[in-house]
């Protein structure tokens, strides 16, 4: 109880509320500008939070997370450009509806569904985190090792279009995580004599490079693209009426639960959640309703937007209770927790319960603020998409460079960041997905540490991987996922 009080003092102080407002607005703004993503915003903000109180830092970061996943629906609806990858499915029905003269209605559906999805997943977050954290102490090193394997298999088999490319990307991520001090021997490995590499490649420069720089390069290449926005005139039809609630209730709940579930699965996040909920909604729709999908179906917008916001709460569950990130943004947040000296997992609940409740509370408050802010200002937010790129890009580049420098005040990190920016761009050109790389990069040390710890405890025997029930379960699920042929898997998750 005391911790909840402390957390609410943090959040409801003037400073806390300002951070929620700032974070949500920045998140929505970045989400609404195509080409700028939430992952980029959060990676760039992280260096700025080093000197902040950890609670304040996380109020800001979580609000950004909520804002960024929500903001994408604006451009998805009005421009047919998903502002963030999470809103891809919203373009399918949002844009046709807006084009047919009901942009306000389309936005209203999306915003309300986002809000409801956020709230439902928040309930799961507060109910499930503590029991899972409690249980997680029973998980041994081999269980964690298998869990990481499962995460990699999940993202490679469901997240991307080509499994070999996804696995290639993940294995490169693992390789990039290796330089530095060998966990087993304490000796240096793969540093090629660079003393700067003794500590390994740092998380932030790699992430800023992969997500921000590579995106900027792609944006610059397409700088000539013309942008036309559908203007929103009538505001009144944005709010839900009683019939709307009645009609969409089941869909809202179902899509939110799907989103939360997908969010909990380690490694995959908002875009997969929204795809899955969308295809489920389509397959369950009446024949008459089914025809409307892709042409401006209300059910489709609601499903996609409820689910992508629901993944936020879902993916925070494994992050705070196990220290395993549920999505790319959570992976960055994990880095943030570690930088602030906080170890996610059961101990976080015991040692820093106020941090846990601050994270949970700020997600809720940010969600509420997001709803009101979006309803009131969505008409103006759409114009953000027309900010001249030529002004925006140099500013973001400077932020990237200063942000990676500030981490440990050395130029080496800046060069690293630029290198990974080019690598990320190459990935995109060759259609190799980025997400498995990042998940591999972040989870590899966790997997290695646990494997070595397990082997030291079992005196060198690998058998416990298939002898311990939890670990065995993860292994079976991974093998199962790998053995389903590719086209069937597509049917399963993409409809």
């Amino acid at each position: 109880m005391e911790a909840i009080n402390t957390a609410s003092v943090y959040i409801f102080s003037l400073q806390g509320l300002c951070l929620v407002i700032l974070g949500t607005i920045l998140g929505i703004t970045m989400g609404a500008i195509p080409g700028l993503t939430g992952a980029m915003l959060i990676a760039l903000t992280l260096p700025l939070t080093f000197n902040m109180d950890p609670a304040n830092a996380f109020i800001l970061l979580i609000s950004m997370y909520v804002g960024a996943v929500s903001g994408g629906l604006i451009t998805a609806t009005l421009l047919r450009m998903p502002g963030t990858p999470a809103s891809i499915m919203t373009t399918m029905d949002g844009y046709p509806m807006a084009r047919d003269g009901r942009p306000g209605r389309a936005l209203g559906l999306g915003i309300t569904a986002s809000f409801v999805g956020g709230c439902i997943s928040w309930l799961f977050l507060i109910m499930l985190s503590a029991p899972i954290a409690q249980y997680s102490t029973k998980l041994g090193p081999f269980d964690f090792f298998s869990l990481v394997l499962l995460a990699l298999v999940l993202i490679a088999s469901i997240g991307g279009k080509s499994m070999s490319r996804s696995f290639f990307s993940a294995s490169l991520g693992v390789l990039v995580a290796l330089p530095g001090i060998d966990t087993a021997t304490g000796n240096l490995r793969l540093t090629f004599g660079f003393e700067e590499l003794n500590g390994g490649l740092k998380l932030l420069p790699v992430l800023i490079g992969m997500f921000a720089i590579s995106q900027i390069i792609s944006d610059i290449i397409r700088i000539g693209d013309k942008i036309t926005i559908i203007p929103v005139k009538r505001k009144r039809d944005m709010l839900f009426k009683w019939e709307d609630w009645k009609k969409n209730a089941i869909n809202l709940v179902r899509s939110s639960v799907i989103g939360t579930g997908i969010g909990i699965l380690p490694g995959i996040g908002a875009n997969i959640g929204s795809v899955t909920a969308y295809s489920t909604a389509r397959s369950l729709a009446t024949t008459e309703d089914k025809k409307k999908f892709g042409k401006g179906s209300e059910t489709g917008i609601v499903a996609a937007e409820a689910a992508n916001n629901a993944t936020i709460g879902g993916s925070l569950i494994p992050l705070i209770s196990l220290g395993i990130p549920g999505s790319v943004i959570d992976a960055i947040l994990l880095g943030g927790l570690l930088i602030h000296g906080l170890q996610p997992g059961p101990l976080l609940f015991q040692q820093n319960p106020e941090m846990v409740y601050t994270i949970m509370g700020s997600m809720f408050v940010a969600n509420v603020f997001m709803f009101f802010f979006m309803i009131l200002s969505v008409r103006y937010l759409a114009r953000l998409a027309s900010i001249p790129r030529g002004l925006l890009m140099p500013v973001i580049l400077v932020f990237c460079i200063v942000g990676s420098f500030a981490l440990s005040t050395r130029m080496f990190d800046v060069w690293t960041m630029l290198f990974f920016g080019l690598l990320g761009f190459a990935f995109e050109r060759f259609k190799i997905p980025l997400a498995p790389f990042v998940i591999g990069f972040i989870l590899a040390p966790i997997a290695e540490e646990n494997l070595l710890m397990g082997l030291m405890a079992s005196n060198g025997s690998y058998l416990p991987i298939v002898q311990q029930p939890v670990s065995l379960l993860f292994v079976i699920v991974s093998i199962g996922l790998l053995s389903i042929p590719l086209h069937k898997r597509f049917k399963l998750f993409r409809g």
């Binding site: 700025l48 080093f50 000197n51 950890p54 029973k138 998980l139 041994g140 090193p141 070999s164 290639f168 294995s171 390789l175 530095g180 001090i181 087993a184 021997t185 304490g186 000796n187 240096l188 003393e195 003794n198 500590g199 390069i217 610059i220 290449i221 397409r222 700088i223 000539g224 693209d225 570690l338 930088i339 602030h340 000296g341 997992g345 059961p346 101990l347 001249p388 030529g390 002004l391 890009m393 500013v395 400077v398 460079i401 420098f405 500030a406 005040t409 050395r410 130029m411 800046v414 060069w415 630029l418 920016g421 290695e448 540490e449 494997l451 070595l452 710890m453 082997l455 030291m456 405890a457």
Partner: protein
């Protein structure tokens, strides 16, 4: 109207930032120290060393023990070798000092770092904290003796949690040496929090924790067996020392302060006096008691002796893991090569049509590479120290902005505004609010 107001606000902000920039570096006095002294902490903020360095920083500032302040700079990573190397390479003018505990010695011995204490001028060692052996509450071991005898009766079965290559690891080996025949199965668990989770989950039989951790974690259902120190700790008098029980292992670890080699001895002794008087302050005593750290200071001859003694003690230890471990590097490289081969073969034999770029316009690769080139120049100029941050940033934003807006006359004004705002603004935010030194 609104537009004019915005411009005025922007102009004011720029003016203020320039003012604060110009004010810096205009003072210069004679005697040491005449500017802030940077303390390099080779660990993350919030860790043990960082916390202690910040306590001393506050004590020095609040009690005016020095005309200048200490500024803490965290350079984590590489088992603290990154921060140490940075200090070795710094100028030995007394304005850069390293704060690191005995990991500086152990990392030399296990080969992580080519440098040990000999590469520094040691100033003082402050604040002693020791390690203790803990088991879970429902463990069959009630006393240290039972535990050690079990390790002798069943060698290499009892799992003892340590952190490889750190003092916990060395203490584990030292414990074995006190009872011939006793052998543990040393399990590397990483930092304190992970070790606690593993101990609570029943994945370890016992583990080594610092006294501070012991006091914080004790309520989580843990039983301390012995404290590895010379005397019992005041606040936990019920825990016997290992020495009393016949296992003389001393784990005392202090935070050492190191100047780069060749620093003026007068500066070294000045700093030692400042640190010593900081340790005497009530604030340090109070905070040390809270963290279960002995507010002790060692300096001069005694410190030199201690370092020699510790180095010879540590160098006797055999370090490598006793279990055959997989070659992670080999397997990762193999996986990358194999998968890379699969991907490229698939791409060659199964070429997909490019699914029609959505853009009607020409893709501007030239522009992208131009901007990357400008970035490289920008970073290069700052990295080499040819241009300070502010000027480099103004130039970079001006050139890049004009380049990307196709030298559009109408936008020049905005580009200039953005350039001034960003450069001075960021400089102000980072140096004044975050105390981060920009190039």
């Amino acid at each position: 109207m609104a537009k004019i107001t915005t411009h005025i606000v922007v102009a004011l902000m720029i003016g203020l930032s320039i003012f604060s920039y110009a004010k810096m570096g205009s003072r210069e006095t004679e005697s040491y120290p005449n500017r802030p002294i940077r303390v390099i902490v080779p660990y993350n903020p919030g860790g043990g060393t960082d916390t202690y360095a910040r306590i001393l920083q506050k004590a020095i500032k609040d009690n005016n023990l020095m005309p200048q302040q200490l500024v803490i700079v965290n350079k984590p990573g590489g088992g603290a070798t990154i921060g140490s190397t940075y200090v070795i390479d710094s100028r030995n003018d007394g304005y850069t000092i390293l704060c690191n505990h005995e990991a500086l010695m152990t990392s030399k011995i296990i080969g992580q770092s080519p440098y040990g204490p000999e590469a520094f001028e040691v100033v003082a060692a402050t604040g002693e904290s020791g390690l203790a052996v803990l088991v879970s509450e429902n463990s069959p071991f009630k006393t240290m003796t039972e535990f050690m005898e079990a390790a002798k009766a069943r060698p290499e079965t009892l799992k003892l949690g340590v952190n490889l290559g750190t003092p916990t690891h060395f203490c584990g080996i030292q414990l074995e040496e006190t009872l011939p025949g006793a052998r543990f199965r040393l399990v590397s668990t990483g930092g304190g929090a992970n070790r606690l989770a593993a101990l609570m989950g029943g994945h370890l039989d016992a583990a080594l924790f610092s006294v501070g951790e012991l006091i914080r974690f004790r309520e989580n259902g843990l039983r301390p067996l012995a404290y590895l120190g010379e005397e019992r700790v005041e606040s936990i008098p019920d825990i016997p020392t290992a020495k009393e029980l016949g296992y003389p292992v001393f784990s005392g670890n202090l935070q050492y302060w190191w100047f780069p080699k060749g620093t003026d001895p007068e500066i070294v002794s000045y700093m030692a006096v400042v640190l010593n008087s900081a340790m005497e302050t009530d604030y340090v005593k109070k905070r040390s008691a809270e963290l279960e750290i002995l507010p002790r200071t060692i300096a001069g001859v005694e410190l030199a002796e201690r370092i020699t003694q510790k180095m010879s003690l540590y160098s006797r230890m055999k370090v490598p893991s006793r279990v055959e471990l997989p070659d992670v590097t080999f397997w990762s490289v193999a996986a990358v090569l194999a998968l890379g081969l699969v991907v490229s073969l698939k791409a060659i034999f199964n070429p997909k049509k490019t699914d029609g770029e959505a853009s009607e316009n020409k893709l501007r690769f030239d522009l992208a590479f131009g901007v990357i080139g400008l970035c490289v120049l920008y970073v290069f100029f700052m990295g080499m120290g040819l241009l300070p941050f502010v000027w480099a940033t103004i130039l970079f934003i001006l050139v890049t902005g004009l380049y990307l807006t196709n030298f559009d006359r109408k936008k020049v004004y905005y580009v200039v505004e953005v350039a001034l705002c960003m450069s001075f603004g960021l400089h102000f935010i980072f140096t004044q609010l975050f105390a981060i030194q920009l190039p």
